[in-house]
């Protein structure tokens, strides 16, 4: 009969692969049950939010419900592509709010379907009733369909990995940066600019055009309450870190900077 084989060929040809995110974030609240279209170069990928969180738990949707298996819930969902869809219970992704806000909201799945999918995902012993799910998960053509689904959504797994990477990066200690709002006048300096200057209690490094990195070399200064002065500008830190950055509004010549830069620590002067 070749019915499913033909359907799969067509599906594979028209389904989009590369994800295209909008430049601007949408101004909407992400709700459980909400369906989002993730744009691709062809047919968009649809996902339904099942559980809200820092990373939203979403389930893949497909209009080609002829391939539904025991893990797929067949639902009514009004969309130009089709009015019957399946929620694919074996394709769960974790997408950030940032990501979803760059996609298009296109409606909500029925409340009853949301409840059933929540239960299915929470409870390993929960199954969909045979009057609302597909059949034949081991049928070779359905296995091929699921393999393709995995392929076309591979990039969504990347979203989770990117988030994990980001979290790891943010857990590594960052160098504190102090932004000086006041305009600081620096004295004249030689044209040949240095990149580092050594002082008695610290080192100064040129970080970028407007930023200097300070590394404290006198360990008696560390973690002490300190007053930092740059010409006419000054601010206090309750615990002086070993390294910190100072960014001015204007470009810095490090030699000139060093002439007006002072750290005053309780009972110590630099």
């Amino acid at each position: 009969m070749r019915f499913l084989e033909n359907l799969l060929e067509d599906y594979m040809e028209n389904a989009g692969m590369g994800i295209v995110l909008k430049d601007r974030k949408g101004d909407f609240i992400i709700e459980e049950g909400a369906v989002f279209e993730i744009e691709t170069e062809r047919i968009p990928i649809l996902v339904a939010v099942i559980n809200k969180g820092e990373l939203n738990e979403v389930v893949l949707m497909s209009y080609q419900y002829e391939f539904a298996t025991e893990n797929d819930l067949i639902i009514r969902f009004s969309h130009p592509l089709r009015d019957i869809w399946m929620l694919e219970g074996d394709f769960v992704f974790y997408l950030s709010e940032e990501f979803l806000k760059r996609c298009t909201p296109v409606g909500k799945i029925p409340e009853e379907a949301l409840k059933k999918m929540k239960k299915f995902l929470e409870d390993d012993d929960s199954y969909f009733d045979k009057t609302e799910r597909g059949i034949g998960e081991n049928l070779p053509i359905k296995v091929a369909f699921k393999k393709f689904e995995a392929e076309r959504t591979r990039e969504l797994l990347g979203e989770l990995l990117a988030k994990v990477e980001q979290a790891e990066q943010s857990s590594t200690p960052k160098i504190p940066t102090f932004f000086v709002k006041e305009e600081v006048k620096l004295p004249a300096a030689a044209r040949m600019e240095k990149t580092a200057i050594e002082r008695k209690n610290y080192l100064l490094f040129k970080e970028d055009a407007n930023t200097v990195k300070i590394k404290i070399t006198n360990y008696k200064f560390l973690n002490k309450k300190a007053k930092i002065k740059i010409g006419n500008a000054e601010f206090e830190v309750t615990s002086l870190p070993e390294e910190f950055l100072i960014t001015l509004q204007t470009p810095i010549n490090i030699e000139a900077f060093s002439k007006v830069f002072k750290i005053e620590v309780e009972d110590e002067l630099d």
Binding site: M1, I74, N138
Partner: protein
């Protein structure tokens, strides 16, 4: 990124340009539809040709146009899939779920729902959708079975289905009763292995398999 065709539909329809897309969709469908799908469509519309499909594609696009007005991007794949799904839902699904099955489902629901406050329409739709998926699965199984069994083995299966259902049995007329039983006993493990490879079937699915196999395949051996 595929070409955005929204300009052909909005603010007004650019008939000539849209006609080329309609023709392309109809041509692709003509190539892509299997004999089975063409048969399903022919049941309602007569012999399937590119010309006939073009008329239908126009109709479907115009029907769906309003639902597309808020979309930023309408590419060829999107339009093609809308049309293809419409054909599936209107003709193929109706052929797969026979009129008798539809009536049977409606009767079943109206009997069980007399005492319940279930929304009748939604339940019927839901059962029709799952029935459709179930029947496609059985048709796929039949396809696999017919590919893996010889003509002789298929006739043996027909003989056994009709024997079990105590129906008139015109199969394997030249074989002795003893030989038919022996042939069926040899076929049983092979058939079980095919079902197992496809994930197995329960009693209800096996009965449905026998029913469809009998009407689709066994008629050839009568």
């Amino acid at each position: 990124m595929s070409k955005n065709l929204k300009d052909l539909l909005f603010p007004e329809i650019k008939t000539e340009l849209l006609a080329t897309i309609v023709e392309k969709i109809a041509g692709t469908l003509m190539k892509r539809f299997s004999d089975f799908e063409k048969k399903c469509i022919a049941n309602h519309l007569g012999e399937v040709s590119t010309e006939l499909l073009k008329g239908e594609v126009w109709k479907i696009i115009l029907e769906k146009r309003n639902a597309l007005k808020d979309r930023d991007n309408i590419n060829f794949s999107f339009l093609y899939t809308i049309v293809k799904n419409h054909f599936l839902d209107t003709y193929v699904k109706k052929k797969i779920i026979s009129a008798e099955t539809e009536t049977d489902i409606k009767n079943r629901i109206s009997t069980t729902s007399e005492t319940e406050a279930e929304p009748l329409g939604a339940e019927i739709f839901s059962l029709m959708d799952t029935e459709y998926v179930k029947r496609i699965f059985i048709l796929e199984l039949i396809d696999i079975v017919t590919k893996e069994l010889s003509e002789r083995e298929l006739e043996i299966l027909c003989w056994n289905i009709h024997r079990a259902r105590k129906e008139e049995n015109p199969f394997l007329k030249r074989m002795s009763s003893d030989a038919k039983y022996k042939a069926w006993n040899r076929l049983k493990p092979k058939l079980a292995e095919i079902f197992k490879k496809c994930g197995g079937v329960n009693e209800e699915e096996f009965f449905l398999f026998c029913e469809i196999f009998s009407s689709e395949i066994c008629t050839e051996f009568r």
